[in-house]
């Protein structure tokens, strides 16, 4: 199971957190403003590998944090 290290509360189980999504990144090739907005709102990079994401410590300090996770093995990676 995934454990997340919260800057305030320390190492806590994933069940206490809410996943807040990858940091949105619209590809540079999308320059049309409507296409840009569509991508920003709906599309996901859904990376198989290391992603940078936002998490909310819902059952803890109730603060947001940013972490890097390897989605192939579902583990937090340093950095």
């Amino acid at each position: 199971m995934l454990w997340i290290s919260c800057p305030t509360c320390g190492e806590r189980p994933v069940g206490e957190f809410r996943f807040g999504g990858e940091l949105p990144h619209v590809p540079d090739r999308i320059t049309d403003p409507d296409a840009y907005n569509l991508d920003y709102v709906w599309m996901q990079n859904n990376v198989a590998g290391i992603t940078t994401e936002r998490w909310f410590h819902a059952a803890g300090c109730r603060r947001w944090l940013t972490l890097r996770r390897d989605t192939r093995v579902d583990r937090v990676v340093p950095g």
Partner: protein, 402 residues
Amino acid sequence: MNEFVERILDLPWQEPKRSYEVVIIGGGGHGLATAYYLATRHGLTDVAVVEADYIGSGNTGRNTTIIRANYGIAESVRFYQRALELYATLEEETGCWIMHKTKGLLWLAHTESGLRAERARTLMNQAMGAQTAMVTPEEALALCPHLDLTGGGRYPVLGGSYHSGGATARHDRVVWAYAQGALRRGAHILQHTPVTGLLRDGDRVTGVQTATGPISARIVMSAVAGWSTHVADMAEVRLPIRTHPLQALVTNPYALGFEPIVASSELLCYVSQTARGHMLMGAEFDSQPSYSRASSFEFLSSVSAKITKLLPFMADLRVLRQWAGICDITPDYSPIMGETGVPGFVISTGWGTWGFKAIPAGGEAMAELIATGTTPAMIASFGLDRFARDHAMADQGSAGTR
């Protein structure tokens, strides 16, 4: 014949051709059914299904095999009703025994708001011709005498809905039935052949790149479930999909005759009995996206805690196996089928945790699209363009049970 000795499907070795009319990426239920319906409904057999591993190694061989049409919105109910019909006659049509069994699905509610949701679903189902009716706690008990109506004092059964069309079928046999039907008519199935890129000619997709060389095609379809984003990336098509693991488990056998399928959308878990007597259980998908197929003890303990409150006899059973698959989850819990905006490239994805039941209808519709070039009315509202048109197909009927 011993019914439970799995038959090994004899897939003849086929020398891959350099070019096909149609190449389908992904030998799961959706890819194979599309090949089957292209051959049987449209006489199109110059088709290759290209599978990275062995056929059925993805979610189609890992799911809990629940087939139902009691969805929440009109377009879905109509679509899944079509799938139910095709499943019911698939044995007759293919001559393959898929162990299809209609056993009904009992969907329990434990709160007033849960009951309201079941009522809304029931009315929508009835309007669209799906067999669903509200039941009282006593009627629920008559349908499933194993129930504890007090829910262990925690999850009292206030009522629910009963979907008499609910069924199960053996997942591997569905894979084999479609594979065999397509093969016999001349389609090729290339196993252990991962697609590593797409061939392009300007905008157009003109084939696939594999470890054993390029294969060109007039049209390429992607049906790769959890890997959909990866393959769509090769065509620069962006998808609103996140890949989440979904786990399941089975217990040792219990006396046969446990019917119907029992589910609770408020508890987010469901259970059915396999033909061998194993109790087969599932629940919600892991909340964070990942491509990991690891099983977790947290899943096991949370499902067991809930299910044994509703069905106390299950506390005496033991867990035999636990596993996971990686599911292509859309933001509106509806599938994405059809054109992508890139000529020569169509997709069937967003099957999430609910796409086994859809295999016949999804395959039939995608085959029609590929053969005729026109999107069938049945799936028109499930296109990728719905997000740009602000027409998301939010369907809570997908979640809850599978």
